[in-house]
């Protein structure tokens, strides 16, 4: 069977499984819809959290990012897993004990204010939509490459599926589909990694394999990481394992980005909400452990894939004749994720540091819409060449998606990777959609606008909001805003500078007041948003040289967070202490046992 048949088969089976689970777990109450009736066992919640957490970016893009960034790519590994530790130790147990359904619930009740609740709702919705658009796009990309349907058709298929199980089963349906999706995505990630590790180093454990020696070829007997450092030096890149210095980010920027990612991920509402679904504080702590163990399995594997892919890519393509390029190059060339521009006219692929040309590849087309071919049969590009020696354009997403093909693995493995990418994107999308839906129906509808709403009405609104959110998310998936990358920096910075400080202060201090929390959130958000908008090119003229303390917009959430803390603490000092019942509520969060 060919790749496409296998893909239809495996993706079809996995979708049938998700739908079956959704029907088996449909719910009839808001408690079921928002928090799965608080009856999810710790280990299942751990898997569901893993799938919820690991998005299309983790599955498809992260290894590729690390592959191109080397050591600096560690910011994602440390940032995302380290943020998870903060979440497990500082937030999850207390929020679970607090009960309730959502993050704005906590903010609104702890700070006895609907204004604070409203600010939290807006942040939750903004962060979630930013994320979900990326997931839908990921679904579209996987569909278009592996099933050769239009990207938009792919997005619509994904929408219909998520719509079905999110509106029917709510959190309960989402939880158990996420458990299944975790299993699919981890198998899909590990099988190619193990196979490639064995091929290159003779070691079946990728985490050890990328520190082993190469078994075959001209570099046999050399440590893989030494080989890649040597290749990098030869081609003019900074060393793969080297930190900082020319061509890399500075130490302070690496630290700021790592820290912003940590506190940003700890403040992501769709992950926090998962801890409301278990039955006790004890179960919340254990599910946090299971979740990081399951996440760690993929996260420790990603840098190994990154190294294998980097060596493989350069060895298979650099100074090889374009006419004899491998089959995977041909299939991915059509997607525009890889392209070659023969600058010196020798027909060989030269790879070196720097962008080969300006922008993403744009292929020339004849008047009849046919691709125009160059001397060596390559699709000709409209892009303007740069003056360096690099002729190869490689999109980072290719590193995971094309990895099995680059390593000549069988067709069913390629199909499995497609199903894994879809599982990662769909599981995260579903979790985010639930946050949006509960923010609208519960926080806005029930808690702010109409407190007398019955459970049945609220459930109806929740389903309606989930459906509406799917449609809007799909729209952004089909028409992605041109500034997606900027917006992602925004989402992390915003989560870091809004939720994280006020939740921490709400638990660990009794004195933090309504005014302090609102002031802190607004100051943190406005500063972070202002900095990102100013330095991300929305306002022309500002460059990296103008960054404050050398901190990039991606890392500025760290500073926003500090500002939020300082403003909240100072303002609280000068305003009236919180009411007695709020202080008692905080006291209860600190007592042993479940509240």
């Amino acid at each position: 069977m060919d790749i496409q048949t296998w893909t239809y088969l495996i993706v079809g089976l996995s979708f049938a499984l998700y739908i079956g689970i959704a029907i088996a777990t449909r719910v009839r109450s808001t408690a079921g819809f928002y928090v799965a009736g608080q009856g999810v066992p710790a280990i299942f919640n751990g898997m569901a959290t893993g799938a919820d957490w690991m998005s299309a970016a983790s599955f498809i893009s992260m290894a590729g990012l690390i592959s191109f960034m080397g050591y600096t790519g560690s910011v994602y590994l440390i940032g995302w897993t380290g943020g998870y530790v903060l979440l497990a130790l500082l937030l999850a147990p207390y929020l679970r004990k607090f009960g309730k359904f959502t993050v704005p619930d906590f903010v609104g009740d702890r700070y006895y204010s609907n204004v604070a609740r409203f600010v939290a709702v807006i942040c939750a919705i903004f962060v979630s939509f930013t994320y979900v658009a990326g997931q839908m796009r990921g679904v579209g990309v996987v569909f278009s490459r592996f099933l050769e349907v239009d990207i938009n058709t792919g997005v619509i298929i994904g929408m219909v599926l998520v719509f079905f199980y999110a509106t029917l089963g709510g959190m309960k349906g989402i939880t158990y589909t996420q458990v299944a999706q975790y299993v699919v995505l981890i198998i899909a990630y590990l099988i190619p990694a193990i196979a490639i590790s064995y091929q290159m180093t003779g070691n079946v454990i990728p985490q050890i394999g990328f520190g082993s020696t190469i078994t075959t070829g001209e570099r046999a007997g050399v440590y893989l990481l030494e080989a890649i450092d040597q290749i990098h030096r030869d081609l003019g890149f900074p060393e793969y394992t080297g930190a900082f210095g020319p061509g890399n980010k500075s130490m302070i920027d690496v630290f700021a980005i790592t820290f912003a990612l940590m506190v940003g991920t700890a403040g992501l509402p769709h992950v926090i909400i998962r801890f409301y679904t278990v039955k006790s504080v004890r179960a919340a702590r254990w599910s946090a452990f299971w979740a990081l163990l399951f996440i760690g399995l993929l996260y420790t594997c990603a840098p190994a894939i990154a190294t294998f892919a980097r060596v493989n890519l350069i060895q298979t393509l650099h100074t090889k004749a374009y006419a004899e390029r491998p089959q995977w190059f041909k299939s991915w060339e059509r997607t525009g994720l890889i392209a070659w521009q023969d600058k010196n006219g020798d027909g060989l692929i030269q790879y070196a540091a720097g962008a080969p040309f300006v922008g993403k590849p744009e292929f020339e087309e004849s008047s009849s819409g046919e691709a125009v071919l160059g001397t060596f049969g390559e699709p000709r590009l409209k892009n303007v060449s740069t003056d360096n020696g690099n002729e190869l354009y490689v999109d980072r997403d290719i590193m995971v998606l094309a990895n099995p093909e680059i390593a000549n693995l069988p067709a069913w493995v390629v199909a499995l990777v497609a199903a894994g990418g879809l599982a990662a994107a769909l599981s995260t999308a579903a979790g985010l959609l639930l946050v949006i839906s509960s923010s609208v129906s519960h926080d806005l509808g029930k808690r702010i606008l109409n407190p007398n709403m019955t459970d049945r009405q609220e459930l109806k609104y929740a389903r309606f909001a989930a459906g509406g959110a799917v449609v809007i998310a799909g729209y952004f998936g089909i028409n992605p805003p041109g500034f997606v990358a900027q917006v992602v920096a925004f989402a992390f910075g915003l989560a870091a500078s809004s939720f994280f400080p006020v939740i921490i202060l709400g638990i660990f201090t009794k004195r933090t007041t309504r005014e302090g929390a609102i002031g802190g959130m607004l100051a943190g958000i406005l500063f972070t948003a202002g900095y990102i908008i100013y330095f991300k090119g929305f306002v022309s003229g500002a460059t990296a040289a103008d960054w404050w303390f050398g901190i990039s917009p991606e890392g500025i959430g760290t500073v926003g967070m500090v500002i939020n803390f300082v403003v909240a603490i100072v303002v609280s000092r000068f305003t009236a202490a919180p009411p007695l019942e709020v202080q008692q509520q905080v006291e209860r969060l600190r007592a042993p046992g479940d509240a």
């Binding site: 560690s74 440390i78 497990a88 082993s212 930190a243 940590m262 007592a591 042993p592």
Partner: protein, 93 residues
């Protein structure tokens, strides 16, 4: 089902909370040491040491830190459970 929390006296709650904060303090120090000190601040120094094919700093940044993080959460769950038991919180079920 959930058990009702025992009626704790104020001082016992304070004692529980103090122990909790102490555990957090120690574990978060470990978290910061692995995630930021070993992986970022001292990475270049550590890279001079080789562990098999891995420069040590690079290994911490891409592998070791994640293992440390998993152990930190595991230790937290175990220590808190012990603390709970000492304060008379019953196990689930």
């Amino acid at each position: 089902m959930e058990q009702q929390p025992k009626q704790e006296s104020g001082s016992k709650t304070t004692e529980y909370w103090r122990s909790n904060l102490k555990i957090l303090g120690v574990l978060l120090s470990v978290w910061f040491f692995a995630g930021c000190v070993l992986s970022i601040f001292f990475v270049e120094k550590l890279n001079e040491i080789k562990m098999g094919g891995f420069p040590l700093g690079f290994w911490f940044a891409q592998q070791g830190t994640i293992y440390v993080f998993i152990v930190v959460i595991l230790v937290y769950a175990i220590l808190m459970e012990r603390l709970d038991r000492k304060h008379g919180v019953k196990e689930d079920k």
